[in-house]
Amino acid sequence: MSTVLPELSEALADAVSKAAAGLVRVEGRERLPATGIVWDAEGLILTAHHVLERDENINVGFEDGETVTAELVGRDPATDLALLRTTKRDSSIPAWAGPEDLRVGHMVLALGRPGKNVRATLGIVSALGDSWRTPAGGPVDRYLQTDTVMYPGFSGGPLVDAQGRFVGLNTSALLRGVSITVPVPTLNRVVQDLSEHGSVRRAYLGVGAQPNRLPDGIADELGQETGLLLVSVEQGSAAEKGGLFLGDTLVSLGGTPVRHMDDLFTSLDSGLIGKSITARILRSGRLEELTVTPAVHP
């Protein structure tokens, strides 16, 4: 017998041991506790939003056996992430790896700490795609799906690569029946928003809209077949202040064509809050340009 299988077995167990210090138990619901990841040495813990059924009385259990209370910094239900602050200092921070280091077929481990000890399941990377939007509208930088089993209490835990590096946070709540990992770039972005504002900020116009086919001539001129017909404009909203009316059809925002609702969501990045941008609309059969200043999503 060669040494490959024993070495593989040892390497997998080593990857789990190496990652263990970066995993915490998160007690924030009635049933089984879930998992969280040590985010920095200042006591920040990243976990899944859906495992926190309450905003207070949350406890976090560390590798060394210590359990401390945690304060909820903020949640982003759209990406199923939540940030906690504890008084625990100098925890060892896990090493992270970006999705660019992964390939479909790579062996990966899903880890959790629903109890005292770390648990592990093994699988491979099933799919690695482009950016996508969760059913709740949260933008995620890469679509990362694995065939790892999400053992009870694994949500909020990391996906770990062959070197024991964390490549993202696993959650069973974003898509039913599929093991989805939120990759590092998304985690960085959401953690920054949560720690600065307590929520993930999105730019907001204050309109209700639906896709609408453009007249042939306009479609040819713009090179796009649909725009967004405004079916409501909130009083006092950025849209109203900018001069948008019910019945206008929005065809581009800040120079980016808007064909579907998804285009509008994508273009309303938090960077646009308070910035004046051009809204191109079709009104009474003619194209017009207005200036709008998106506000913060309430």
Binding site: M1, S2, V4, L5, P6, L8, S9, E10, L12, A13, D14, A15, V16, S17, L32, L109, P114, G115, K116, N117, V118, R119, A120, T121, L122, V149, Y151, P152, G153
Partner: protein, 211 residues
């Protein structure tokens, strides 16, 4: 890369072959069967208590038969069982008292299991002789979320046990016994009774000796 995977496959084959030498099928009455493990060269076999019990109630089945790795079918007598632990000890018996050559399984250390380490389950799945399923240890000990018995040691494994694996060996990367496949907890999680629990039970049941 290719060489590495070939070596890995060859290693996996060796582990399966080694474990298969100690794997038996246990049939009780007219009921379907389960698996068992040869623990002693004197004909001691362990399996799950539920494999040798009536479906309703816990009355032990009569007419126990064991299919040995080489295919011979021999009778067996129930020495002891514990329905709580789900462990049963059988003694293989032949009419002339002569036992064929048996290969007892090598015992591993189930108290030193590490999450992530590789394991293989062997059994008579759907009646297929010597079927194997591979995976890793999810965790071991008394505090597993889906443990059937509170406070008792279990091994949770990330592999799909199918009907027929019950009572069969769970082995490590060297083919050493670390547990006994006992049930599924969900679609893809198997639960096994750790080898140290089996060892302890056999020791008490037959009063020292073989195990």
């Amino acid at each position: 890369m290719t060489t590495l995977l070939s070596q890995l496959n060859s290693d996996l084959g060796e582990v399966a072959n080694k474990a298969r030498k100690s794997l038996v099928q246990v049939a009780a009455g007219r009921r379907g069967s389960g698996s068992g493990v040869i623990l002693g060269a004197d004909g001691l076999v362990v399996t799950n208590a539920h494999v040798v019990s009536e479906r309703k109630g816990r009355r032990p089945m009569r007419d126990l038969r064991v299919t040995l790795p080489a295919g011979a079918v021999v009778a067996a007598r129930l020495l002891a069982k514990d329905d709580g632990l789900d462990v049963a000890v059988l003694q293989i018996e032949t009419p002339d008292g002569e036992l064929p050559e048996l290969h007892p399984i090598e015992l591993g250390d189930s108290l030193a299991l590490r999450p992530g380490q590789w394991v293989m389950a062997m059994g008579y799945s759907w009646g297929v002789a010597g079927a194997a399923a591979g995976g890793i240890v999810i965790g071991a000990g008394p505090d597993l979320p889906e443990s059937p018995g509170i406070g008792r040691d279990w091994i949770a494994v990330d592999l799909s046990l199918r009907p027929g694996y019950s009572g069969g060996p769970l082995v490590d990367h060297q083919g050493r016994l670390i547990g006994m496949s006992t049930m599924m907890a969900g679609l893809d999680v198997g639960m096994a009774v750790p080898a140290h629990v089996i060892k302890e039970f056999v020791k008490e049941a037959i009063g020292g000796g073989t195990a």
